[in-house]
């Protein structure tokens, strides 16, 4: 039969047809009749009392239809909204702003230009208040209190593992390394910013929300819960997530702009569009990271034994992370990484400061990047303290293939892995030993080059319902497949692609299971009226959850198809053999019915007593998470005159289990690597003592161009997940998680002989030069 191009084929993407013709439909392309535009006036201060908002100054502008303030919203009990971490966040302040660029008022007008004029014209009187930007300062007694409704700036303490056992084990180690590190604020900066079009129909009491969201169903439920007192109900809310121009975690939270557009639509009775500017996106949307980590790692007789991480997490003025509810620090306790160690303890203290809210992902599954950074830096340090090459030290201390499923000291059950094979492959590809020899020669000549390794273990696919939920909703995901009479299919999912190519890869999974070619399968996501409920696409969970659901739903269809085939072939079900795309009678391959024949019969000639139709739905509750892994090796050269770090080569060997579409997998890794080196070398959002932001636009927030991005070299190993129906693991984020410590380890390696033991990120030329200068190694030409 014809090749069905299921798993393992680099099928060209179905979605490309519209994207390359400029026919994608992104949020700003949605235009409804009579639509108004909303713009937001923002605070110039990081902390201030609002003494007066002169609404008349904006109303005087031509075309301005309404000005919405915190007071307006208070009237509807909408001035505050819950975050996904069950904290509270302002939609608009009633009297006090808590961070620079915070929303202060919404201006609704007949055009985008008039709305902008209104926002520019709006006069607001402020009384500045003291500001706290450093989370350590915020924890001190007498510190400026960020939240009036809370006792202190301390949000939560969370810890996991055996504290006493870990301390005792560290005391018994012959070698212990300790390091403080800061992973600064960064921003996903998808090239499309966030936005929405809210359309309220007062007659029907119905709200349609076009929204840049990675999780349309969850958002619908949140909207229903938050607006129930206003008479909105979930069956009257339709969330449509159109094509999304990149998400990476930044399009999971609910932003005030969404609520404002909705409120404005209700107030004006017209559709209202809000599209954020890049500066607003960088300055006010959820940030990622901002973890201050103190790490200790110890070994005895060269064997890694104990890990301890104490962490201060700067959440800004509200904990607006998007973690599963039971995990205030996400999956940070994957921190023991790829190493077989028995004692570990991690703690995190969340803190309020006068900065925008957040703590979301940056293309990473819930704080895994922070965990990987800590362990991969520490293992490097410990290797050297033991006098051993970091590669050899890793190879000796990895969890061995025969130890899987592996129970980690922090309670995870790793599904499968072969860490040594991945590292050895990476070493081969880059010529690790040769690079070491070259380095020795260069060092003798005074040139700086370094080689850094990161052998990460990811944890994705949240997650099993016994532990994973968001606001109480379990983290399953779904697929609904209908086979039409002519054998073509439509499949709908609870997830939402933002460039990952779901329309293609889901079709390939179904193709593999049912033998229907991918081009005969229409895949849809993102419309809550039509798609089955699901928690959405982030944290590399789509393949592990919805991808699995696609398999399971297909198999349900196959079960029914078998019955129909038995009826058609007048054979016993038990005598039928499935080969891709058809059933035949055991021993007589010619007595066969294709899935297309069966589909037709399901509507025209189904067995008596059986319901017509051929469709199935699956809400897949994964039995465990999946644990992709890989080894990356980075080789850098450092300019002693300017401090510039150049990545000469970067080899990435990834193991994400079975690969559905290798071309798409490679693409995900390329993109992930780029978003991995970016925070290592370029990107940062920082604040001065008054809470003024730097890095709040694309001139200062340095997203790499093709010139700063190295030519990635990829390799692969394949260790299937034993519990996933097709053995796949998820790959969207591995590279972002794994890459940063490889770069840091390479730079520290280049400078090791000078006495350098650590570098904070981003390793900007200025920062590297400072270190060179301190160690007398800066050149003057």
């Amino acid at each position: 039969m014809a090749e069905c191009r299921g798993l393992g084929h680099s099928v060209q993407r179905k979605e490309d047809a519209r994207f390359i013709r400029g026919q994608g439909r992104y949020i700003d392309d949605v235009k409804l009749p009579g639509m108004l535009y909303l713009d937001i006036a923002r605070s110039p201060y990081a902390h201030a009392k609002i003494t007066k908002i002169h609404e008349d100054t904006a109303m005087a502008v031509d075309g301005v239809a309404a000005v919405i303030t915190g007071k307006t919203l208070e009237g509807f009990k909408l001035a505050w909204m819950p975050t996904l971490m069950s904290d509270q966040q302002m939609v608009l302040p009633v009297d006090t702003v808590k961070y620079q660029a915070q929303e202060v008022a919404a201006i609704v007008a007949t055009s985008r230009y008039a709305a902008a004029d209104g926002a520019a014209a709006l006069e607001v009187d402020y009384d500045p208040l003291p500001v706290v930007v450093d989370p350590h300062e915020a924890l001190k007694p007498g510190a400026t209190k960020v939240r009036d409704d809370k006792e202190s700036n301390h949000i939560f303490h969370w810890e996991h593992g055996d504290a006493d056992g870990t301390d005792a084990a560290l005391a018994g180690c012959d070698t212990v390394v300790e390091q403080h590190m800061h992973l600064p604020r960064i921003h996903v900066a998808s090239i499309e910013t966030c936005g929405c079009v809210a359309s309220w129909n007062p007659v029907e009491g119905h709200l349609t929300l076009y929204l840049t969201t990675q999780a349309p169903h969850a958002i619908r439920t949140v909207v229903a819960l938050v607006t129930a007192h206003l008479g909105l109900a979930e069956h009257k809310i339709r969330v449509i997530s159109p094509d999304i121009g990149g998400g990476f975690g930044g399009k999971v939270p609910v932003y005030p702009g969404y609520v404002l557009a909705t409120a404005a639509s209700v107030v004006t009775g017209k559709p209202v569009k809000w599209i954020e500017d890049r500066s607003e996106n960088l300055q006010a949307d959820s940030f990622a990271r901002d973890y201050h980590i103190t790490a200790k790692l110890g070994s005895k007789d060269g064997k890694v034994t104990a890990l301890k991480l104490d962490t201060v997490a700067d959440h800004g003025y509200s904990d607006a992370a998007a973690n599963p509810s039971k995990f205030p620090a996400g999956l940070y306790h994957i921190a023991t990484g790829s190493y077989d160690l028995e004692n570990a303890h991690v703690s995190v203290d969340g803190v309020y400061t006068n900065k925008p809210p957040g703590g979301i992902a940056y293309r990473c599954s819930f704080r895994v990047t922070e965990a990987v950074h800590a362990i991969e830096r520490m293992v490097d340090l410990l290797a050297r303290e033991n006098g051993e090459d970091p590669a050899d030290f890793r190879l000796r201390n990895f969890i061995k293939p025969e130890q899987f499923p592996y129970q980690s000291a922090l309670g995870w059950e790793y599904d499968s892995g072969n860490y040594g094979a991945a590292l050895e492959k990476a070493m081969d590809m880059i010529g690790y030993r040769e690079l070491r020899a070259e380095q020795a020669e260069k060092r003798a000549r005074g040139e700086l080059m370094g080689v850094g390794i990161s052998s990460f273990t990811e944890i994705v696919g949240a997650g099993p319902s016994k532990t994973f939920d968001i606001l109480g909703i379990k983290m399953f995901d779904s697929a609904e497949i209908r086979i039409h009479p002519t054998g073509k299919a439509i499949a709908r999912f609870g997830t939402k692609s933002q460039g990952q190519g779901h329309e293609t890869t889901y079709a390939q999974i179904i193709a593999e299971e049912l033998g229907i070619p991918p081009e005969d399968i229409q895949v849809e996501e993102g419309d809550t009226d039509t798609a089955p409920y699901g928690l959405g696409t982030y944290a590399s969970r789509s393949t592990p959850t919805a991808g699995a659901a696609a398999s399971i739903a297909s198999r349900k269809i196959r079960d029914k198809a078998r019955k129909i085939a038995a009826h058609l072939l007048e054979a016993d079900e038990a005598d039928l053999v499935w080969e891709q795309g058809k059933f035949h009678v055991k021993g007589s391959p010619d007595r066969a019915k294709t899935i297309q024949d069966i589909a037709f019969a399901a509507y025209t000639n189904h067995p008596q007593g059986m319901e017509a139709g051929l469709e199935a739905i699956s809400y897949y509750d994964p039995p465990n998470l999946t644990f992709p892994f890989g080894s990356y090796i980075c080789c850098v050269d450092i300019d002693r005159g300017t401090g510039q770090v150049r990545i000469r080569r970067f080899v990435a060997v990834d193991d994400c289990g079975v690969r559905i579409n290798p071309m798409i997998v490679d693409g995900q890794i390329h993109g992930g690597l780029t978003m991995g080196i970016a925070p290592a070398l370029l990107e940062e959002i920082s604040y001065d003592a008054d809470g003024n932001i730097t890095g709040g636009n694309f001139m200062e927030y340095l997203v790499p161009t093709a010139m700063e991005t190295p030519h990635w070299e990829l390799g692969e190993t394949v260790t299937p997940s034993p519990h996933h129906p097709i053995g796949a693991k998820g790959v969207g984020e591995s590279a972002t998680v794994g890459a940063p410590p490889a770069v840091v380890n390479a730079v520290v390696d280049a400078l090791w002989h000078l006495g350098v033991r650590h570098m904070e990120i981003p390793m900007t030329p200025a920062r590297v030069w400072d270190v060179l200068n301190e160690h007398g190694a800066a050149a003057t030409r």
Partner: protein, 160 residues
């Protein structure tokens, strides 16, 4: 303040409108003419999502006033294929040079102009040529391959 009657030829079709002087070309294209393939990704002229060909050369249409494009010829992504697919579009699909597709129209237009000037660019020349267009998804490797593929296709076309 001042408003002006302008005519801009977009993808071969002339569009005459009365516009405010401050209307940005990108909004003229997207809102007035309704061609939404040209995107907006920043407010500092950094990202290139809004790139169109203005009298044949790539230009960031968020940083041009529509009035100043009066009488100009503009090509947007919608005009790239001219019915079929342009080799650049073909190359981008074949080599997986796009993921979310948001940077893609600008990236393809820049690539088209690059190839017209330099039909056989090296990897370094391609990276240099597209360095005014940001992509957050692809890590550029496959965009480079897409441009190389387009270059092959263009040569095949002109040979055949």
């Amino acid at each position: 303040m001042s408003s002006h009657q302008i005519s801009v030829t977009i993808n071969g079709e002339e569009h005459t409108r009365e516009v405010e002087a401050r209307l940005l070309l990108v909004h003229f294209i997207r809102e007035e003419v309704g061609l939404t393939g040209t995107h907006i990704g920043c407010d500092t002229t950094s990202c290139g999502a809004c790139t169109v060909l203005l009298n044949g050369v790539p230009a960031k249409s968020c940083t041009v006033f529509a009035v100043a494009a009066d009488g100009a010829e503009v090509t947007t992504v919608e005009g790239l294929g001219n019915g079929g697919l342009h080799p650049v579009q073909q190359g981008f699909t074949e080599k997986h040079g796009l993921q979310c597709g948001f940077c893609t129209p600008g990236m393809m237009l820049t690539s088209k102009a690059l190839l017209e000037e330099n039909p056989d660019p090296s990897e370094e020349e391609i990276r240099w040529g597209i360095s005014g267009n940001l992509c957050r998804c692809t890590g550029y490797v496959n965009i480079v391959k897409a441009v190389q593929r387009a270059s092959e296709l263009m040569k095949e076309n002109s040979d055949g």
